[in-house]
């Protein structure tokens, strides 16, 4: 159990490091937009990348990309 005398200080250093990194991330503006990424992942922008669809010919400005219904 004496290993704890080393492991605990090590964990404290790691915690300090984590807080420092988080502080840097906040300061550099990475947390300014907390909503955007949550939404952007849900948009189906990949219609023209899916092979075998009829819209493959006209590319991204086709205008007839099938929306996901419900």
């Amino acid at each position: 159990m004496e290993i704890l005398y080393i492991l605990i200080p090590v964990s404290l250093i790691l915690v300090a490091l984590a807080i420092a990194i988080f502080g840097w991330a906040v300061k550099s503006g990475q947390y300014d937009d907390l909503e955007g990424p949550a939404h952007s992942i849900l948009y189906d922008d990949d219609a023209d990348m899916i092979p075998g669809k009829d819209n493959a010919s006209s590319g991204k400005s086709s205008g007839n990309t099938k929306p996901k219904q419900e």
């Binding site: 404290l12 906040v26 939404h39």
Partner: protein
């Protein structure tokens, strides 16, 4: 088309709402577009144009992504394009455009603030569209602040082309100006987030070291390790007490300085007390299981409270698209002329306007500064300031206010006050004063907390005194036990949790609370005051009746009127926009009277009664008998011999207004109308809705006096408004509610916002507020009961440490679950 089909179409039309903005489509208007293989109706050509832009751009997925309806676009014509083109002026760009090197070529960078964004899909649409433009390197919009970062190549695309493109989608992009308030909010958000992270990480670490301590109670633990775990916990709690919890300490000190006890005082006391007690035990007693440490509770308590306050702050900031404020009211540019004769024009940024400058204001432009009209004659739309939706006639020597729009002819004004000192700015200053005199709402928990804190301090002191006389060895430990056991966790959670639950419930119904005292103030309201235009009514003119007196049928008369009005930019002209089918020639407008011109080779006069029958051979008295008196505005169409048609225009009362007013009156509150409009139309609306008390023709400061007089008489006043002119009175009332369509400045300064302009949400809010208040009272009663029951036990030294910790958590949990009941409603 058969009659049956026509009828069916009409039913569909009258019941249909605009696919883009959700507004009711006025009967007879028809505009459709095929989206996702279905024909969708639109309420105006503006919405249709935007939908066309979106669909032809292949971005029709916007309509399946979106979760909120889009905002109805304002007019977009040549004059606005010309205004946006001014942003290409290098002198103007100096202020917000920066050049940088990228991939070996020069790029320009600018921050824009975008208004009109209603949900995340809007941002998706904007980013897709703008990033596709030639010359745009990158364009991204922040979901919270609606601030956009644009990097583009000026040599390929001028800035105005990008701004026009944004405008075509129905949004407005303007240069972003960082001011002190915005910078402050920004800093506040970032530091709050960092404090939460520190408290959160410390809580997790503390938990890790506390579990062995808890287990140690049952299975035994080496005293060396016991001491080690305690010291490490102490170390981990230091950043929590010394940094994360600082906002509570500061607020507590501020309250004590003005001799008040608020909720932050017991919170600070609990944090410091528990920490001091645990630190004392760790440092000065030999490690044993008889005494307990509370480091984990300190960290967790701080973490949860910080989280609660952060969420509260987020809701408050969410609906302030802080961009707008002044820049939305006043144009960023002005056209300066050297003198009346030469009219040597020069575009200048608005902040360079000096007193005595001569400014040219064209049709459709907004006056950038207060001034006196020295050349020309025109009508000005002052609705932004006064809420009056009909323009006011201005001739030479008339005062022109900044923020009002010129609707007819080009005029020249001499500046009397630069934008900073203009009337809009004056209203904002009046607002600051009103804020200062706003009756302070002492929250229930806060007022209780003062007594509670005083009581706990006395009890701790008394028990300390007693024990130091009888058993000095245990005195200190017992005083600390009293402080820890009475830790007001549950008490301090009582209000915020109930508020959060009520917020969520009301938000779903379209009522957004932005300040803490709203729930309480709502439930205590005696007097509910509406500003008429835009709250009880829809705030825009609508054709509601057409009377025919001549040889034309309704459709023909409307077509003639629409043809004439197509040449006018008067707000009344917009009413006829949907009926345009034929063209008019030789159109002349006569200021303040009407408009005349040729349609299909015949002359027609459209305007006031006198104007339309000026050429008439009919006996005037005889003709007047035909026309029953009416509320609203009558527009007459004459053909040179007689009146052909009368169009009645009215600011329509909202559909649900009558029902809501009745419901509210039933709950025993007095409903008032306080309006800047003419007495006649106010009286009519009041009568229609069954409202007995009303005041008409009131200026912003008179409105404020009205509310102040009521409040001086001891009434609790709630004000519902939407215009800039309502700002002072909104801030003066104990509780202010802004309509969702109000200007950002108004929303920023009100306590609650009625989203979706749905009045019935207001009635719901009053009911929920009463329920929420009951829940808060229950919470507080429970918290106090628990703490008071434990206090004597702790004072006699009979509470074992693990029981104190368990009880504290349990009583907090009960409070949280009780609050959650609000959400279910």
């Amino acid at each position: 088309m058969t009659d049956a089909q026509t009828a069916q179409d009409q039913v569909q039309q009258t019941e249909a709402n605009c696919f883009h903005c959700g507004e009711r489509i006025s009967p007879g208007f028809r505009a459709e577009l095929k989206i996702h293989d279905e024909h969708r109706p639109f309420c105006c050509y503006g919405c249709l144009a935007i939908a066309e832009t979106i669909v032809t751009g292949g971005l029709d997925n916007f309509y399946s992504h979106r979760t909120e309806l889009a905002r109805k676009p304002s007019d977009f014509d040549e004059s606005q394009i010309a205004e946006l083109k001014l942003y290409d002026d290098p002198e103007l760009q100096q202020e917000f455009v920066f050049s940088e090197e990228q991939d070996g070529s020069t790029c320009q960078q600018a921050a824009l603030s975008i208004s009109g964004i209603t949900c995340a899909a809007c941002i998706w649409l904007l980013e897709q569209e703008v990033n596709r433009l030639e010359g745009v390197v990158s364009f991204s919009v922040n979901h919270t602040s609606h601030k956009a970062q644009l990097v583009w190549r000026q040599d390929q695309t001028p800035l105005s082309a990008i701004l026009i493109d944004i405008r075509k989608l129905g949004y407005q992009g303007l240069p972003y100006h960082e001011d002190q308030v915005k910078a402050q909010l920004h800093k506040e958000r970032r530091s709050a987030l960092f404090r939460i992270a520190v408290a959160g990480i410390a809580t997790m670490q503390n938990m890790m070291f506390s579990v062995p301590l808890y287990l140690g109670v049952y299975s035994g633990i080496d005293s060396d390790f016991l001491s080690l775990f305690r010291w490490v916990s102490l170390l981990m709690s230091l950043p929590v007490v010394g940094f994360a919890a600082l906002p509570f300490f500061r607020a507590a000190i501020r309250a004590l300085k003005i001799r008040q006890l608020n909720m932050d005082v017991p919170v600070s006391l609990a944090i410091l007390g528990a920490f001091a007690a645990s630190a004392y035990i760790t440092m000065f007693t030999t490690a044993s299981l008889e005494s307990d440490v509370y480091f984990d509770s300190v960290a967790m308590f701080t973490f949860f409270l910080l989280l609660g306050r952060y969420l509260e702050m987020q809701t408050r900031h969410r609906h302030l698209n802080s961009d707008a404020e002044m820049s939305e009211l006043l144009p960023a540019t002005a056209t300066r002329v050297s003198d009346i004769e030469q009219q040597e024009e020069q575009s200048i940024p608005a902040h360079k306007i000096r007193t005595d400058d001569l400014l040219l204001i064209r049709q459709g432009q907004i006056a950038p500064a207060d001034g006196v009209l020295i050349e020309g004659e025109s009508q000005f739309d002052e609705s932004a300031l006064t809420g009056e939706y009909l323009p006011v006639l201005k001739s030479v020597n008339a005062e022109i206010h900044a923020g009002t729009a010129n609707v007819e002819n080009t005029v020249i004004i001499r500046v009397t006050a630069p934008p900073k000192h203009s009337r809009v700015a004056a209203i904002v200053r009046l607002l600051d004063n009103a804020h200062a005199t706003k009756p302070r709402t002492v929250e229930l928990a806060d007022s209780l907390a003062s007594y509670f804190v005083a009581f706990v301090l006395c009890a701790a002191a008394l028990s300390g005194l007693y024990w130091s006389l009888t058993d000095p060895n245990h005195a200190f430990a017992i005083v600390l036990a009293v402080l820890v056991v009475t830790c007001p966790c549950a008490l301090s959670l009582a209000t915020p949790t109930a508020l959060t639950a009520a917020n969520t419930a009301l938000r779903r119904k379209g009522f957004l609370i932005t300040k803490a005292h709203v729930l309480e103030a709502l439930s205590e309201t005696d007097d509910l005051i509406f500003d008429k235009t835009g709250t009880l009514t829809e705030g825009k003119l609508e054709l509601y009746e057409t009377n025919i007196y001549g040889r034309y049928n309704e459709g023909q008369a409307l077509a003639i009127a629409a043809a004439l009005e197509a040449h006018s930019s008067h707000p009344i002209a917009k009413v006829f926009l949907p009926f345009q089918s034929i063209k008019a020639k030789n159109v002349r407008s006569e200021l303040g009277k009407g408009i005349c011109g040729q349609v299909n080779g015949r002359d027609y006069w459209l305007g006031t009664y006198d104007y339309a029958v000026k050429q008439s051979a009919n006996d005037e008295a005889n003709a007047k008998k035909h026309f029953t008196p009416h509320a609203g505005h009558g527009i007459y169409l004459g053909d040179g011999r007689q009146i052909l048609a009368r169009f009645l225009l009215k600011d329509k009362v909202r559909q649900d207004a009558k029902e809501v007013v009745k419901q509210l009156q039933k709950t025993g509150m007095e409903v008032h109308i306080l309006s800047g409009d003419h007495e006649f139309s106010v009286r009519h609306t009041a009568l229609e809705l069954g409202i007995k008390t009303f005041a008409a023709g009131e200026s912003p400061s008179e409105k404020l006096d009205y509310v102040k007089a009521l409040q001086a008489a001891g009434r609790n006043v709630t004000m519902v408004g939407d215009g800039i002119n309502d700002l002072p009175v909104l801030s003066g009332a104990r509780l202010s509610i802004a309509m969702g369509g109000a200007s950002d400045l108004t929303k920023l300064n009100s306590d609650a916002i009625l989203l979706n302009e749905n009045l019935s949400a207001l009635a719901t809010a009053f009911i929920t507020s009463r329920h929420g208040r009951t829940i808060i009272k229950q919470n507080i009663a429970w918290a106090l009961l628990y703490n008071l029951a434990m206090l004597p036990l702790a004072a006699v030294g009979a509470v074992p440490p693990y029981f104190a910790a368990l009880g504290m958590s349990l009583s907090s949990l009960i409070v949280v679950f009780n609050s959650l009941r609000l959400k279910k409603r």
